[in-house]
Amino acid sequence: MENSMADKFQQKIDDDIRIEPRDWMPEAYRKTLIRQISQHAHSEIVGMLPEGNWITRAPNLRRKVALLAKVQDEAGHGLYLYSACETLGVSRDELINQLHTGKAKYSSIFNYPTITWADIGTIGWLVDGAAIMNQVPLCRCSYGPYARAMVKVCKEESFHQRQGFEILLTLSKGTEAQRQMLQDSVNRWWWPSMMMFGPNDADSPHSAQSMAWKIKRFSNDELRQRFVDMCVDQAKILNVTLPDPDLKWNEERGHYDYGPIDWDEFWNVVKGNGPCNRDRIETRVNAYEKGAWVREAASAYAEKQASKKAIQVA
């Protein structure tokens, strides 16, 4: 019985028929999705923090509203994704608890600090750029609610990357101090952005199964290569150099070659040793705990109103 269900399931996947919440699915598929979608949702929520830093310090009102709207969008994306995850039978509270206790991971990139205004532009350009590379294929993911959430996310994400690039373009046309701020920021964010695609294919344990399930459509290295090829040209427009001496065009491959990634750093940041890991989680836990009395109040009020209504009806 189990076997024939599994075969039928895989057949649906192979025929590009979407899986919906109440359909039968293998437990491992459900678990993989919960892990990936919640990790994605957590990344959006934690990702609000490094950029949120600069909402109160944005250099003019136009930048301020754009940044606030952008960070708010990330809250929205987190919400769409938590909702998608909840269709798999896990509550948002449970997911948040996993984040707060360190059981669930989020994208390591957000454990790096935003120390200058240029970082806001660079996040838009490189980090959102890398995120879009990762996310666009997810719009065709086999799980319906995830795919639909990603369609909404990707639509909104393109404004993010453009607002980032515009910030950097303005800096590149500005004073010497601004150009230095820009180059310094790109130097700091380039390698962490490259790491966003995850380990090399050879070291990526879940990849093959995820590809078979069509949760994942392209390998880490494929996406990373696309990202490099895209950024090299865009860097020229900004008049910045990418901090990789090995970066050069490879005629034979039709792609840019790039230097080795420091996987030691990557795994350490994943493990919790990045510059901001502790701060980020502490901030999230704080917000949640400080909000407890508000959530309780609203629940209590709703209950009181409901019982008042019940009395009126009776």
Binding site: D23, G76, Y80, E86, R92, R295, A298, Q305
Partner: protein, 93 residues
């Protein structure tokens, strides 16, 4: 814990169209659910009308019954206009 109830959100994107399911959210009461639906799902002029309903109140068919529910329609091809053979020179039908 103290999760607020889950609500499903339906948005009419413009007059003349159906309300369409767009996602869900948590809210403690109806008024909040409506306001949140606006704040979460209508930030870019996506809607002119909102419906919300508590997720637990939605009644859905069991997918295991799908065959009994939906497959019988497959062999009623006479319900479709292409079932009928008519001459090519017949216009406007």
């Amino acid at each position: 814990m103290n999760d607020w109830p889950l609500w499903e959100v339906f948005i009419r994107s413009k007059a003349g169209l159906h309300h369409r399911h767009v996602g869900s959210l948590h809210a403690s009461d109806e008024a909040m659910a409506l306001e949140n639906a606006r704040d979460v799902y209508c930030r870019r002029m996506e809607g002119v009308s909102i419906w919300i309903v508590k997720s637990e109140e939605i009644v859905a068919n069991n997918p295991e019954n799908s065959e009994a529910l939906f497959d019988p329609a497959e062999n009623k091809i006479y319900r479709h206009p292409t079932f009928y053979d008519l001459p090519d020179n017949l216009k406007h039908m």
